[in-house]
Structure formats: C-alpha cells, structure tokens
C-alpha cells in the first residue's frame, strides 16, 4: 500500500504525500531527537527532511525503499542542524546527579547523565549510526545503505562510537567512584 502512495506522491499527488508524511513523521522525529538530543532542533530537522522528501520524491528510483530513503534525509537534516549551531549544544548544562541519593535511583540517574555526556561528545555521524542500530534496529548493511556509506565505514563508526561512549562513561565515573562507592 505504501508503494502505491509513494508512486502517487512521486507524481505530485499531495494527498498521497500527506498520508505518507503522517505515517512517517513520528518515526522521523524520534530518530532526529535521538541524534540531536534537542526537541526543537529535532522538530526542525524532521520538518526539513519531510519537505525535502516531497521535493526529491520523483528522484527516488525504488519506491519500496521509501522508509530507508526517508531516514537518510532525516539524518542529513540532523547533520545540517548539528552543524548549524555548535555553541547552543556546548551551552547545555547538565544538572549533576544528586549523589546523596542512595540506591538504584541514584545509580540510574548517574548512569543516564554519564551516557548523556558521553553521547553529546560523539560526532553527529557516530550518533546517527548508534541510533539507526540501537533504536531503528538496522544492521550494518542497512545502515550503510541508508547513510550512503560503505559497510566498513558503518562498522567502524559503530565500533568507535561504542568504544568512545564506553570510555567516556568510565572516565566520568573514575574520579568520583573510589570515595562514593565506599561511602
């Protein structure tokens, strides 16, 4: 059914495109948010991607691959958003986790903060690979096709992103852990 809608939208049918966009917007936004970690910028990226989709739909050769193609536009829009303003991102301050809190809740918040900090240190390209793999559930070949990169590059980005994230978390945890773990 979606292929039919894509083909109609390719022919300029705005109603068909509206149906496609309505069915896709939540997924696009969810992916954009997870890459950019900012709701407003995710909205902008999603909007940009969908408008680009309408404009470029006639150039899509394989309508059955609309979804992956759309993710590609979303990721590109996220790259543009991320590159547009680095200072805003740098200005984001994370509230330190309340270390006086005890038990699982404190650990969970600390974990999340560490992951958030580590994730923000990744490049948009690395974030995109992580999100497509862990959130969308794509395998490396699908990631490579979606992003238009060789499989080896996708593998390497995923590997280094994961490694960097793990290292960042360990580095964040290291200075405070000896005293706090024994407290």
């Amino acid at each position: 059914m979606q292929v039919g809608l894509v083909e109609r939208a390719q022919g300029g049918d705005q109603d068909a495109f509206a149906a496609l966009a309505t069915a896709s917007v939540d997924r696009c936004y969810a992916v954009a948010y997870r890459i950019l970690r900012d709701m407003h910028r995710a909205q902008d990226a999603t909007q940009q991607a969908l408008v680009s989709a309408w404009r470029d739909l006639p150039t899509l050769r394989e309508p059955e691959r609309f979804e992956a193609w759309l993710y590609r536009l979303v990721v590109r829009a996220c790259y543009a958003e991320a590159g547009r303003d680095r200072r805003w991102e740098a200005g984001v301050r994370l509230i330190p986790s309340d270390r006086s809190m005890s038990g699982d809740a404190a650990d969970s918040i600390a974990d999340r903060d560490e992951l958030e900090r580590g994730f923000r240190r990744l490049t948009p390209e690395q974030r995109a690979v992580l999100v497509l793999h862990h959130y969308v559930g794509y395998q490396l070949t699908e990631i490579a096709e979606t992003l238009g990169i060789p499989v080896g590059t996708a593998r390497s980005r995923l590997h280094y992103a994961t490694r960097q994230l793990r290292a960042a978390i360990e580095a964040d945890a290291r200075p405070t852990s000896p005293k706090e773990r024994t407290a």
Partner: protein, 276 residues
C-alpha cells in the same frame, strides 16, 4: 560484581537511546503541509538511482577524471580529424551526442543546507549570478547602528525550568550593514534593569544585513532568583563596540521570568547565533 559488563553496557545504551519522545508535535506536520504546495518537486527526467554502494571520494575523483578525459578526447577528435570534404564527410560537426549523454552523470546536487551567512536580499536587483555560492560584496560594509536595528520578541516558550524567547532582528536602516552572529544577551525589565547578564561570545562571525532583511534567534534563560521585575520583561543584546539594543517585548504586561532553580546557582542566559 557484574559477570557480563559488556551486556550491561549494551543494555544501558539501549535503554538510553530508547528513552525520549516518540510522537512528533503536531506543528511539525502543519509546517510541512504548509510548505508543500509552494515547494516544486524535482523533475525526474532521469531518476537518480539511490546508490546502494556509494562512491567513495576516490571513485568520485576517478569518475570526474573520466568525464574530463572523454570530453577532451571528443574535442581532440574533432580538431584533429581529417578536413571535411572527403568521402562520407558530414560537414560541420553537429553537437556531439556524447556531450549530451555526459550531463546526467554529473554528481547529484547535495541536499540544501541552511546558510548562516545571509542570502542576497530580495530587494536587490535580480541579476542572476553565474555561480552558486553567495559572493560577498567587495565594498566594506560597516557595523549596523543599533538605532537602525529593530528587534522584537515574537514568542516566549517555557521548557523545563527555562524560558526561550524567539527574537527577530530587522535592519530598519536604508543601507547594508553587518551584525555579529552572536552578542552578549541580557534579560532586562521595564526599568532597564539587567535581570540576567549573559557572557560575551568568545567568537562570532559577521553577518551582512540588507535593508529590511530579518534575522532570527532564540534566547534561553534560566534560574532567576532576584526580586520581582517590572513589566515588561525583554531581551537586550550588548554589542562588542559597547552599543546595545533592546527587543520590543512580546507583551507590555509580561513580567514573567524563568523560575528560580536554586539561589546558590548562577542565573543563565544564552543565545543561538542570528540566522536568516
């Protein structure tokens, strides 16, 4: 401890990426649908294949080289071939079909990106530029006089302890001038008192503003723990040369400030770079 730290890390990572909004706000689709009727679709005379095995940089360079060689060979052939008049001569060379066939092989134009440097103003003479990159005018353009800058807050939003002002800046003067993409922002009240003082940006680039051109930014402030302000609350921008301009407040009666998140913590105000 943990017998399998890797899986724990993967689980944590999965949970972290999984969390977050999954539904787009309705205004996203509204904006898209508003844009579609005025957005022309790209022609599909030659549908560009969505490559599954992308060309790497070297491949692209090689393809470009091949095109150049093909064109040069065709030109050389036309120049060096025997003079017309022999058997089977066809007279003057007609447009080469190979040249036509080469055209679609040029790289697909990349996705448009938002350009921070301002585009040429619509008020300029519409002389088509032969190049695609915006060319800055060679004549030096002075800094905008704050008196010629009209700023106004078009919207206030609240989010998680923050307030975000949507600000528009218009060059109300009659000549082109430049502003810096980032300035020191301030939250000010109706008496002109500075409620929250921002930090001068470490670096900033110049943006050229044609008469009537508009730039936009978002100013985010947080943690105001001072006395109740006098309405209306607005946002000011302190220029590096000491000038300052204050945005027209969103409402004359607006005295809303960001909530106090803790008197022990500093108040905060930051701006995004001005952009078209």
């Amino acid at each position: 401890m943990n017998p399998n730290p890797r899986s724990t890390f993967e689980d944590r990572l999965n949970d972290f990426i999984e969390e977050g909004p999954t539904d787009a706000p309705p205004q996203v689709l509204d904006s898209v649908f508003a844009s579609v009727p005025s957005t022309a679709q790209r022609r599909a005379a030659w549908r560009m294949p969505w490559r599954t095995s992308p060309m790497i940089g070297f491949g692209r360079a090689l393809a470009g080289l091949a095109v150049v060689v093909a064109v040069a060979s065709a030109a050389l052939f036309l120049v060096l071939r025997p003079a017309p008049g022999g058997i089977g001569a066809e007279g003057s060379p007609s447009p080469s079909p190979t040249a036509v066939a080469i055209v679609p092989l040029t790289p697909v134009p990349s996705m448009p990106v938002l350009i921070v440097t301002p585009a040429p103003s619509a008020t300029q003479t519409p002389s088509p530029s032969p190049t695609r990159t915006p060319t800055p005018t060679p004549t030096p353009i002075g800094r905008c006089d704050p008196a010629n800058l009209a700023a106004r807050i078009t919207l206030w939003e609240g989010a998680a302890g923050h307030r975000i002002a949507h600000v528009e800046l218009t060059n109300a003067g009659s000549s082109r001038c430049t502003v810096r993409s980032m300035e020191k922002p301030q939250l000010v009240d109706g008496n002109g008192s500075v409620l929250i003082d921002g930090v001068a940006p470490a670096s900033s680039k110049a943006l050229t503003l044609a008469p009537g051109a508009v730039l936009k930014t978002l100013v985010q402030d947080a943690n105001y723990c001072g006395p109740a302000p006098v309405a209306p609350v607005s946002v000011a921008f302190v220029l590096s040369n000491g000038g300052r301009f204050v945005a027209t407040p969103f409402s004359r009666t607006d005295a809303t400030v960001p909530p106090c998140n803790g008197a022990g913590s500093a108040a905060d105000i930051e701006m995004q770079p001005w952009a078209p």
